[in-house]
Point group: C2
């Protein structure tokens, strides 16, 4: 009975996600669902890459958070259009929330829409919001055992950002192990090693996004 309810909710979510996906496709918008643990560095990464990307394309951001608008305020300081979704305690964004938020954006003027999900390495992976692909941020300080412990989110994501790579010398994180586990879970996954402190990997990640935007435009 509980399973049935859950299936209905997910079925309804998939329907709205498909509508979002069709809308983004029609508007030639690349949509990225950015996920990761609390404190993995999602918003800091966004701040860094948005300033680079905004020179070349039009970006908008949808921010998910339980109660605050702290992350949206950080994005807004860069004069990027941003909509804050507060889930009021909910542990993930769903397609209906993103649909409602997207209605407040001028989609005709956007090439890239980044949806920053609620900080959570479990639940967001189960909810399609209509994105072109999911990206997961894993900070070095979280430990190299996380891909095997939270496999779904890495299986669902086209790209993993191994973030805070500048802290590698101060941890026992084994990069080779993490890369091997990621490849086992998801052989086609793209991996970037990034740092918002020393800038490592940010240009490479931005260039990869720009390539994906070109593909969407065709």
């Amino acid at each position: 009975m509980q399973v049935q309810v859950m299936k209905n909710i997910l079925g309804e979510n998939d329907k709205i996600a498909a509508e979002n996906r069709r809308l983004f496709h029609d508007k030639k918008i690349l949509a990225i669902n950015l996920m990761g643990s609390p404190g993995s560095g999602k918003t800091s990464l966004l701040e860094k890459i948005l300033s680079k990307l905004a020179e070349k394309i039009n970006v908008a951001v949808i921010e998910g958070d339980l109660f605050t608008a702290k992350d949206a305020e950080r994005i807004e300081r860069q004069n990027i259009p941003v909509i804050q979704i507060n889930t009021a305690g909910g542990c993930h964004l769903d397609a209906a929330m993103v649909k409602r938020a997207a209605e407040s954006l001028n989609l005709d003027e956007i090439n890239l829409l980044i949806v920053e999900n609620v900080g959570n390495l479990v639940c967001p992976a189960e909810f399609d919001v209509g994105e072109n692909f999911k990206a997961v941020v894993l900070s070095i300080t979280e430990g190299d055992d996380k891909p095997l412990k939270y496999p779904l989110i890495f299986k669902e994501s086209a790209v993993t950002l191994l973030n805070k790579i500048d802290l590698l010398p101060y941890t026992n994180f084994n990069l080779a192990n993490a890369r091997e586990d990621l490849s086992t879970i998801h052989p086609a996954i793209k991996i970037f090693e990034t740092s918002c402190i020393n800038g490592a990997g940010l240009d490479e990640f931005c260039n990869w996004i720009l390539e994906k935007i070109d593909e969407v435009k065709l």
Copy 2:
């Protein structure tokens, strides 16, 4: 309709949690529900404090994880009785899972039961498992904005461990801000600054647990 289902699930959970609590009380066991983000350092902290606590009292551990037994294997190496719960993708432990796991332990020989929850700063806070108190681990590398962004888990927890304090010099974490926000959310919250690398705060936390065990015994 969806809300109603959720209420029923939580109502049923609270009933089983109350049964667990009564059982632990009768057996004079202190039960701690240990929560925190993926990679905040919960298992490493457990490894460190168990070796100290096991000299003085009998400890058992219930480990929550989505799919693996990696954390339980780490605890087992210390010859501590440990039961692994796999939630098969579920984002938190509930009271029924803990009840079933506790049935496999010899509760007559235990003074302290630590339940390590699934790595998640959102969902576990909503589910009472029958513990005496909740403890939340927040690693310095997650950022000082987390108490205000995830207030429920800090409101529900009797104690916060500001972990990986050895990494403080390499981050922009503001300790004073974090302490102030924690006090605003939960004025009575107890705070320890801990590190598994240099051992900071571990004796203090262990002594505090031993005091709580004495209270339970009375």
